[in-house]
């Protein structure tokens, strides 16, 4: 299957899910390609409402690719179950093995999403706003995409684009010519610097990006610790290659119930997590830049039960 056929396979899967009443939308790399920002990833990231997980699992059980049945990916995937997705876990599926495998990554909650993603869908894709929030990772390659999605939102008249401009030159140029709502400047203090033409903008933007990167790095650290016992449990369960997807699912649920914390980040403490990230950022940036960091609490509302 070439990549164009693969792209169509993902789109058709979402159409099929929608016909079954599943609330879902494509996000991340494939959404970027859709929004004219080319990403080389061939993986599909899918946002799916946890109430629809049963229907999604049924559809995946029937979907074949190049003669391969859908399977959970390796031992690493948490189960497709609302109890764990509410805590920020994701589930991962594959058709086939090796470099030619077709993969699907499922998110029940939009990580770092500040508003419910279900209200922000455009066709088969999630909006640029949600994609841009989800892309605030600790990977360098994600950041130019965020700024471009922000610019597109502004072009379309959606002021939330101001929340996603991380390039100093682009932000300064746009701020000189276009209005930015006061409430967004309160939420994201660097916007005020841009509006005022303040020379500290570049330093403040670097600090803000570092802060998001540290939040992601530390989140992964917490989840890594929680995942290890589950991985051991799934490996020891030695699920047969011939097991159906529903059998694999049942084993993973049993393993998760005994070995996988449902919401490790909430258990760790959200305020503690934010304070850790702030402290880690303080080691990397000029102290005065810390006063321009945004309030990221809304971006963790996805963890609410």
């Amino acid at each position: 299957m070439n990549d164009t056929e693969l792209h169509e396979f993902y789109l058709e899967t979402v159409r099929q899910l929608r016909r079954r009443g599943v609330l879902c939308a494509i996000t991340s790399g494939l959404a970027c390609v859709h929004y004219n920002v080319a990403e080389t990833t061939k993986d599909c990231d899918l946002l799916c409402h946890p109430d629809s997980f049963g229907a999604l699992l049924e559809v995946l059980s029937t979907l074949e690719r190049d003669g391969h049945q859908c399977r959970y990916r390796g031992n690493l995937s948490p189960p497709l179950d609302a109890r764990w997705h509410r805590g920020g876990w994701t589930s991962h599926f594959t058709w086939g093995h090796g470099p030619t495998a077709v993969t699907l990554d499922v998110f029940g909650r939009a990580l770092r999403g500040s508003t419910p993603w279900e209200h922000d869908i455009s066709g088969l894709f999630i909006s640029q706003h949600v994609v841009a929030e989800m892309k605030r990772t600790n990977r360098d390659k994600d950041w130019p995409f965020i700024s471009l999605l922000g610019e597109q939102l502004l072009e379309a008249g959606d002021p939330r684009g101001w929340l996603h401009l991380f390039d100093a030159e682009m932000l300064a140029r746009l701020a000189r010519r276009h209005d930015c709502p006061d409430e967004l400047m309160l939420r994201r203090p660097v916007l005020r610097l841009a509006k005022q033409g303040d020379s500290r903008l570049r330093v403040a933007l670097q600090a803000e990006r570092r802060f998001w990167e540290e939040l992601d790095r530390l989140r992964i650290e917490v989840l890594r610790r929680a995942l290890r016992p589950y991985l051991v449990a799934v490996a020891r369960a030695a699920i047969s290659d011939s097991a159906s997807l529903s059998e694999q699912h049942a084993v993973r649920i049993r393993c998760a119930e005994t070995s996988l914390a449902q919401s490790p980040l909430l258990e760790y403490g959200l305020e503690r997590h934010l304070a850790d990230a702030r402290e880690a950022t303080a080691q990397l940036v000029r102290p005065e830049a810390l006063e321009w960091l945004p309030d990221v609490t809304p971006n963790f509302s996805f963890l609410a039960p």
Binding site: N2, D3, T4, H7, S28, G29, V33, H34, N36, V37, A38, E39, T40, T41, K42, D43, D45, R73, G74, N75, L76, S77, T90, H92, P99, T103, D105, F107, H119, D120, I121, S127, T137, D142, P144, S147, L148, E151, Q152, L154, E155, A156, G157, D158, P159, R160, D167, E169, M170, R173, L174, R177, H178, L223, R224, L227, R228, L231, V232, A235
Partner: protein, 88 residues
């Protein structure tokens, strides 16, 4: 479903200005070639170009990086497998 903050789209000279800023950023962040792919190609042309890019990566013997949500899981899986093998 519409975005909750929708207001009037930018038009006229303001839109031209925003587009010019975006193109300049595309060129700086990704290079002139990808700027053309993103801004001047149709979706079908863009997909074809991405196919070519991925094929080139594969033919050179390199692997495409996994998505962010999976990359760290793969690392932990390898670590745990190595630890279990050592114990065994």
């Amino acid at each position: 479903m519409n975005a909750p903050f929708k207001i009037n789209p930018i038009r006229g000279r303001a839109l031209s200005h925003a587009k010019a800023v975006a193109r300049r950023f595309h060129e700086q962040a990704f290079g002139e070639e990808l700027a053309r792919v993103n801004l001047d190609f149709t979706l079908a042309e863009r997909l074809e170009y991405l196919n070519w890019m991925r094929d080139t990566v594969r033919r050179s013997g390199r692997e495409l990086p996994p998505s962010h949500s999976v990359a760290w899981l793969l690392e932990v899986e390898k670590e745990v497998e190595a630890e279990e093998a050592k114990k065994a």
